[in-house]
């Protein structure tokens, strides 16, 4: 492939591979993506191959860059929530939660206990959902096609719960600044509780299919090992770091939003290969089920959003009787609440690692800067080290177990 042909839409010329090829061998530089069934989104990898062996791999991203951070500067804080949700599009509750927690820190706003528990329940259900989609698509990449159907069957049950509580399957705008948008309807708690029991049983079935499956073991064992210190230097967090043996989890290390009320374990791997990453995520599904159960059983009474009318909309029935409620509603909907000047970076534990939101407030009703520290963006830097020296098939496995979400990477 000539250099001109390699400069496709991006106009980039790639430097040749470092080693000079021997006389009898030729190095092949191919484009892997952005349109490819196995890249989990529009990721482009420029891969240099010697036969089947990968010598070099460079990721090229930006194919779904939506300029969300720029759009957020144009909108009031309340309107930023739907935009920010669409970044990491499998972990939408987490995106909204990171942003809302950062704004609440700037406003110095207390979130009521019931709202915190509801946020935790929905976030953990979203974590289960994200891991199910990951497992389905990863197993599909590796050839275990029926897992895709099983995982999406469970995923639809989670989405049914989301639809029940907020009206939307994805991108629900459920988490708002100060709490959640609405209380859970009658019967939701029982359905969610029943779901957690069912989910644990199904997780057992997935494990029975994959854990000791010879083909799966051959594809994932001892593949993509990166030493833990190197992962820390590369800024990798989440299940990838936990698979390498480091039990770093923000829910335990720096608990936020009542996570310290719950009793759950952090699954940690030993070797740090793709098999450990798979085991860690599947075990996390079980732990999330436990958290949801404990949260539902211990759900406190109280308001589901802060009672500070300067920040949260008043309930509709008050608009008919109270003048202040009407004025608050008007001001919040048209202009929005103002946040005193300051900046805050607030990290939470998303399904892929540390999801942080950086908000700069300048005293007006619109944020001056919203930036998401997306875990997939930082974890992608580890891909090269995982992939170099392995085979092409191992590259697919590594990409699957890395769990990149291009919406979060490109924002």
């Amino acid at each position: 492939m000539s250099a001109e042909e390699r400069t496709i839409a991006t106009g980039v010329t790639v430097e040749p591979a470092q080693e000079a090829p021997a006389e009898s061998e030729e190095l092949l530089t191919i484009n892997f993506g952005p349109h490819h069934p196995a890249t989990h989104g529009v990721l482009r990898l420029l891969v240099t191959l010697r036969g089947e062996e990968v010598l070099d791999a460079h990721p090229y991203i930006g194919y779904v860059h939506t300029g969300i951070e720029k759009s957020c500067e144009d909108k009031s804080y309340w309107k930023v929530i739907p935009l920010v949700e669409r970044m990491d599009y499998l972990a939408y509750y987490f995106n909204a939660m990171a942003f809302c927690m950062a704004v609440e820190r700037l406003l110095d706003e207390e979130v009521p206990a019931r709202a915190q528990y509801l946020r935790v329940i929905h976030c953990e259900l979203n974590r289960i959902h994200s891991h199910l989609v990951w497992l389905g698509t990863s197993a599909l990449d590796l050839g275990a096609i029926s897992i895709f159907w099983y995982c999406f069957r469970e995923r639809d049950k989670v989405l049914d719960l989301f639809e029940y509580s907020s009206g939307q399957r994805m991108h629900t705008r459920y988490v708002q600044v100060g709490g959640v948008i609405e209380d859970i309807p009658a019967g939701w708690a029982e359905k969610a509780l029943a779901f957690t029991y069912e989910m644990e049983e199904r997780v057992g079935q997935y494990e029975a299919m994959l854990d000791r499956n010879e083909i799966f073991l051959q594809r994932t064992k001892h593949v993509g090992i990166v030493p833990e210190q190197r992962l820390l230097a590369l800024g990798v967090t989440g299940p990838l770091l936990r698979a390498a043996g480091n039990p770093w989890d923000l829910r335990k290390a720096a608990p936020y939003s009542s996570y310290d009320d719950f009793d759950f374990r952090i699954p940690v791997g030993t070797v740090g290969d793709c098999y450990d990453r798979y085991r860690v995520r599947v075990a996390e599904i079980r732990e999330s089920c436990a958290i949801v159960r404990q949260a539902i059983e211990g759900l406190p009474e109280g308001p589901y959003i802060t009672t500070n009318r300067k920040v949260a909309l008043p309930p509709r029935h008050e608009l008919a009787t109270s003048m202040e409620a009407l004025i608050h509603h008007f001001k919040l909907v048209t202009e929005g609440f103002r946040v005193p000047p300051g900046e805050a970076y607030l990290p939470i534990e998303g399904p892929r690692g540390e999801l942080g939101c950086f908000v700069v407030a300048d005293g007006s009703a619109k944020p001056a800067r919203v930036h998401m520290r997306d875990p997939s963006f930082v974890n992608l830097q580890a891909l090269r080290e995982m992939v170099v020296g392995g085979y092409v098939a191992d590259m697919i496995t590594n990409l699957a177990m890395l769990d990149p979400i291009l919406g979060g990477i490109d924002r």
Binding site: Y345, H371, R373, V378
Partner: protein
């Protein structure tokens, strides 16, 4: 987070070891911020990472912001984390705009924290801040030949105007 006194201690020690690096501290809503001089950022980060009782060895995030119309205009933020004590330190370097179409420059910290690779490229792409010593500084999110620094405050949001009856006549044949 280091509390306010802890922050002052860090600032004091850093100011002694790397003279002229600390230009200010802020402690707001429980977040400790150290404002450092842009010329000595890498030395300050190295001290924070390598000193045994500081040991902020994890760079959680490297991001930027544009404070237009304030001056200095650009802020480069380093979120450091000490995993053992679970303490976060926010280090901020404020850059002036050089004027004349020149790009503001800062030393790259990729040798200290390899995680800064993509994140500095994103800062270059979005704000036009050039990092000296970065192995491969080119655009990462926008197309390579794109002109303009999108995240700057004076860059327009762009997009298409929404057509209403008062402006639809300006867009010929929009109905096709």
């Amino acid at each position: 987070m280091p509390d306010a006194t802890g922050l002052e201690l860090i600032a004091h020690d850093l100011g002694e070891q790397v003279p002229g690096s600390v230009t200010g501290t802020e402690h707001y809503r429980g977040i400790a911020t150290l404002i450092v001089d842009p010329g000595r950022v890498v030395a300050a980060l190295r001290w924070l990472r390598d000193t045994p009782n500081q040991a902020y060895a994890f760079l959680a995030s490297l991001h930027g912001s544009d404070y237009l119309p304030e001056s200095p205009r650009f802020g480069v933020h380093y979120e450091l984390l000490n995993m053992d004590r679970v303490e976060r330190l926010h280090v901020k370097a404020l850059l002036e705009e050089p004027g004349d179409g020149e790009l503001p420059e800062l030393d790259s910290c990729v040798e200290l924290f390899p995680t800064a690779d993509f994140q500095e490229r994103e800062l270059y792409d979005m704000f036009g801040i050039r990092f000296r010593g970065h192995p491969d500084l080119r655009r990462i999110l926008m197309p390579e030949e794109y002109e303009g620094w999108p995240q700057r405050r004076d860059f327009p949001v762009g997009g298409e105007p929404v057509l209403f009856t008062h402006n639809e006549h300006r867009t010929p044949r929009w109905y096709e």
